[in-house]
Subunit: 268 residues, 2 copies
């Protein structure tokens, strides 16, 4: 490349989470880095955007001096929108990386994850993007075995074209460096959360419900991201924003026939 | 059917929005209805869930006396989780309907919409589900032309099997009854929001940024939901939660080859 690429870094654990420092470090070796990340933890925010309230941006000094960094009061998706339209107005962003998330975002977690929703938002803007997650929820998670692999995926993204709207969902197993067996390109496993609610009473005696749950995978094929993680591989799932179920379209065609009864007394 | 189906009704505009009353009215003609909906507007919440705070549920009398209704302090997805695991614990839900949203959720809006995310959450739980939206943001929108069509789609859903994880994204044009030309089964148009931020200063002189934007569609094929709405049809897009970009998997396989250089002094 003739000039250094511009790399936007964000996450959903908040700008002070250790995982984002790893992305900033690696991105800084590959290009010019701008960070726009939430000022508080935003796990589980999915693709939420802030419509009803104004957003705040504040320049911060949390990274090496050549890294421009802003904390934002909104969601991860808000951060990407503000980065493109306010912070980097008019500049072309070559790559957006989100994470490294503290905890896996394999399978259905892509739907709930602010980390991946930020990456998807960037992909909607035509920016190459990657969400990275380590399968370890701990604040003190050891990200060092991830580093060469994160760099490999970032370099690949910078050097190859992405189909419009494509993003990569990369999950890294919690393993020592020598036990990571490589990368696998996978599909999203059809796993899900089985929820429970912790029920209790607050100090004034009113009931509350607090979400908890267990991740259940009954999709045991060997081409999924869950399989890859369980077998010592880093999973890479190319993902996109088209939720159309093309297979289901044909049998639904019957709905197009006939008109409903317009005279329904009970619905008048 | 031997017994009346159990229909869960939710939305993202909040339990007092006029749109949800239309769904309750139609669902009541077809089955037993339970409402669990947000106590405040939740537009743009996407698939957000509430992890860091407890949730509240409060029984309310906003509908006819045979309709059990609860307002919830969380997001639309939280409402579906609470409905299944707390309010209707152990009961089998035959159908979940979400809406009718005040405003279109065609195309990429499925990603941002709390209405559709609630429907998707139900589909993840194995519940047949449908998100309904009227292409009119007004609080006083006229939902009456929608009614026979909403009933037709609900009846179809109750009478036919759904593939696991499938949901329907139904959008209704803002037209008088006699101008609605029918239903079309469509794919999600590849349209997007082009954002701007309204910038200002708050009373203490600090800058703020407020999200605004314009919906842009350059996907002019005649098999999309946007085409259907623009041509007087109700769009029905069968949708799902698998975001894998299967087409992109093959060319990404090159990533699986080779191992990264583990000795990177700058990344030590």
């Amino acid at each position: 490349m003739n000039k250094r690429p511009l790399i936007l870094v964000t996450n959903d654990d908040g700008i002070v989470a250790p995982g984002i420092r790893v992305l900033v470090e690696i991105a800084s070796a590959l290009g010019d880095v701008v960070v726009v990340a939430p000022d508080s933890p935003q796990s589980g925010q999915g693709h939420a955007i802030t419509i009803h309230d104004p957003l705040r941006l504040k320049k911060v000094n949390l990274f090496p001096p050549d890294v421009e960094a802003w904390e934002c009061s909104g969601t991860p998706v808000d951060c990407v929108k503000l980065a493109k339209h306010v912070v980097l107005k008019g500049r072309s962003i070559d790559l957006c990386v989100s994470g490294i998330n503290h905890g896996s975002n394999a399978s259905i977690n892509i739907i709930y994850s602010g980390t991946l929703s930020a990456a998807m938002e960037a992909s909607l803007e035509g920016i190459k993007s990657i969400g990275f997650s380590l399968d370890d929820f701990s604040f003190d998670a050891d990200f060092s075995p991830s580093k060469p692999w994160v760099r490999k995926v970032m370099e690949h993204a910078l050097q190859h074209p992405f189909e419009h709207g494509n993003l990569l969902n990369v999950n890294i197993p919690k393993l020592p460096a020598e036990q990571i067996r490589g990368l696998r390109v996978c599909r999203q496993a059809d796993a899900r959360w089985v929820e429970k609610f912790m029920e209790g009473r607050d100090p004034s005696g009113q009931p509350y419900y607090w979400l908890t749950g267990e991740f259940v995978n009954e999709d045991n094929a060997d081409d999924t991201d869950i399989w890859a993680l369980q077998n010592g591989f880093i999973s890479v799932v190319p993902s996109m924003h088209d939720l159309t179920n093309y297979k289901a379209m044909k049998e639904l065609k019957v709905l197009e026939h006939g008109t409903p009864v317009r005279e329904m007394p009970s619905l008048a």
